[in-house]
């Protein structure tokens, strides 16, 4: 029997929403593994259809300095939306998230001021660009993530897309002050 006190639990979630075949699950797995190697507690979950390609996919990573209490957050700190199908699957959770970066071609315009729409899918391999954007919010895991990507079979191309994503991510951070809070809280996770 444990009698814990009311300590605040600091858990942050990064999600990718997309379509089967875009590599959403793989991207979140790499992100989780890289964060794990940097000493964080992580939980990586996903929701996908029975079909191998084409269905709606939402996958996310919960990051914390302590063991994860609850890997089922009601909303996310940061969402990268790669396809409308994924957004539709978890509409409530995604729309109540702190910051959403959505593909401007494949995701229908979302009229909310915390949504930023940019070219993601057309900038390279979609999941790698997404990972790059996320990394701009947690720069401390960039090297671990690059190591994980290097193990993939088409590492070179993937790394190129990843770097493109990192660039897009930093550009967005420079332009949109709303993203700063999110980046700050995520960065704090690995800083100390």
């Amino acid at each position: 029997m444990s009698k814990n006190t009311h300590t605040q639990v600091q858990e942050h979630t990064v999600a990718i929403a997309g379509r089967g075949g875009q590599g959403v699950v793989l991207a979140t797995t790499l992100l989780a593994r890289a964060a794990f190697k940097k000493g964080l507690y992580v939980a990586q979950l996903q929701s996908y259809g029975a079909e191998v390609r084409g269905g709606a996919v939402v996958a996310y990573v919960v990051l914390s300095k302590q063991p994860i209490e609850n890997p089922y957050p009601e909303n996310y700190d940061l969402v990268i939306a790669l396809h409308e199908a994924g957004v539709a699957r978890r509409r409530n959770e995604i729309l109540s998230s702190k910051a959403i970066i959505a593909d401007e071609d494949l995701v229908k315009p979302i009229p909310k001021d915390n949504v930023i729409q940019v070219k993601i899918v057309k900038s390279g391999t979609p999941n790698m660009v997404a990972l790059g954007i996320i990394t701009a919010f947690i720069p401390a895991i960039t090297e671990e993530l690059r190591k994980e990507i290097s193990k993939l079979w088409n590492a070179e191309e993937n790394l190129r897309s990843f770097d493109t994503g990192v660039r897009i991510g930093f550009e967005l951070l420079g332009k949109h002050t709303k993203l700063k809070d999110v980046a700050e809280s995520l960065t704090k996770l690995v800083s100390s």
Partner: protein
């Protein structure tokens, strides 16, 4: 201590290997297949046997055969496959074969939603077989517990010669988390370490002590049958006494050891006004809900059940009796809530939260809102003249 980033399904497979698993038979089914994938790779390298069976009926019966031969054996499946295994599970109960069956629950009935988490197999795991029987059902809430409870499953199965079901779900099985594992697990021993092969293999004077299981091929001339049998295995399909004695012993063997079998955790205030009873994956948002309720001034607690069967109603009652409101969140239309209703007195309001399908969890905020709403109603009723 080993620390790895594993899915719940991988954690189950690793725990089984660490517990001395040497035989796995299984049939592919979502969302349990990763258990099989892992063991297909590892068992042949570790002196074990792996076979992809023609169906789940074959899988469970092969596993029973291997267990009777004295080898640690396991199978894993999901909903429809688990239904097919029920007959074999009942047989395993009758011949007292120490097997471990992992069921990674998905949304049913029928084919349902193969890739979506659910907790709808609780009653099937408990009562899915014909006749009177008890199996042990454990429900992990995370990859960490998937590891810990699978180790425990082998310990109980071999300690009591009883089938143990590890009732995981898609969230736990496919979710990946950090898992801490000991460097070495003590291999589970038959009869918790004391076996006398001169004693009858199917009878025991002490109902708490399982009979010994001599391995096949050593000259014990074992007579094993799924029909009603006496303590030496001779079939008796007529007498009341033999049958009654046998089924009672099979039940008492497990219930008599309930302190070794029944596992739970409590988190929160002593004698909490609002109690949440949860298990498996849904015990985790429940814990967050309890923390939030307490932070806003409520007296709240979480009773997390790790063992779903046999249920220790005394333990359950001891927590439920002090609560005014008991919330039971489940990814089904209400199954464990019946246990809570059995022990709840008139002064306790039992409220289920049910949600299933689409891979949608019950969120902590939903539990909090429900608790606050019901608490408000209870207060209002109490204040009425």
């Amino acid at each position: 201590m080993r620390v790895e980033f594993l899915s719940g399904n991988e954690a189950v497979a690793k725990a089984a290997l660490d517990s001395g698993l040497k035989f796995y038979a299984g049939y592919p089914i979502t969302p349990s297949s990763e258990v099989m994938h892992y063991l297909a790779r590892e068992l042949p390298k570790n002196g074990g046997m792996f076979i992809q069976s023609e169906d789940e009926l074959a899988a469970i019966n092969m596993v029973v055969g291997a267990a009777l031969a004295g080898v640690k054996s396991m199978t894993a499946t999901s909903g429809p496959g688990f239904s097919l295994m029920q007959e074999g599970l009942g047989y395993a109960v009758m011949v007292e074969a120490p097997i471990v069956v992992v069921n990674v629950m998905r949304a049913g009935p029928g084919t349902g939603q193969a890739t979506k988490a659910a907790q709808g197999d609780v009653m099937q795991a408990r009562w899915g077989r014909h006749g009177d029987q008890v199996v042990v059902v454990l429900a992990p809430s995370s990859p960490q517990e998937a590891y810990d409870l699978t180790v425990k499953a082998f310990e109980i199965a071999w300690g009591l010669r009883v089938p143990v079901v590890v009732l995981s779900d898609e969230f736990v099985g496919h979710g990946r988390e950090v898992v801490e594992m000991p460097d070495k697990v003590k291999e589970p021993e038959p009869g918790w370490g004391s076996e006398d092969y001169s004693k009858p293999p199917f009878g025991s004077d002490d109902p708490r002590k399982p009979p010994p299981l001599p391995p096949l091929g050593e000259g014990y001339d074992l007579l094993i049958t799924g029909s009603t049998h006496d303590e030496w295995g001779y079939r008796d399909v007529h007498s009341f006494e033999t049958h009654f004695k046998l089924v009672k012993r099979l039940k008492e063997k497990v219930l008599g050891n309930i302190e070794k079998v029944f596992m739970y955790e409590y988190f929160g205030d002593d004698e909490a006004d609002i109690l949440i009873v949860a298990y498996g994956s849904m015990s985790r948002p429940a814990r967050t809900a309890v923390r939030r309720l307490r932070a806003t001034g409520f007296s709240a607690g979480l009773l997390k059940l790790k063992t779903l069967w046999p249920m220790n109603y005394d333990v359950l009652r001891s927590y439920v009796k002090d609560a005014r409101v008991v919330i039971v969140p489940e990814l089904n239309l209400g199954q464990v809530v019946y246990d809570v209703r059995i022990v709840a007195g008139n002064g306790t309001v039992v409220v289920p939260i049910n949600k299933v399908g689409g891979g949608v969890p019950i969120y902590a905020c939903e539990i909090v809102e429900k608790a606050q709403k019901v608490w408000g109603e209870v207060l209002e009723e109490a204040l009425q003249p």
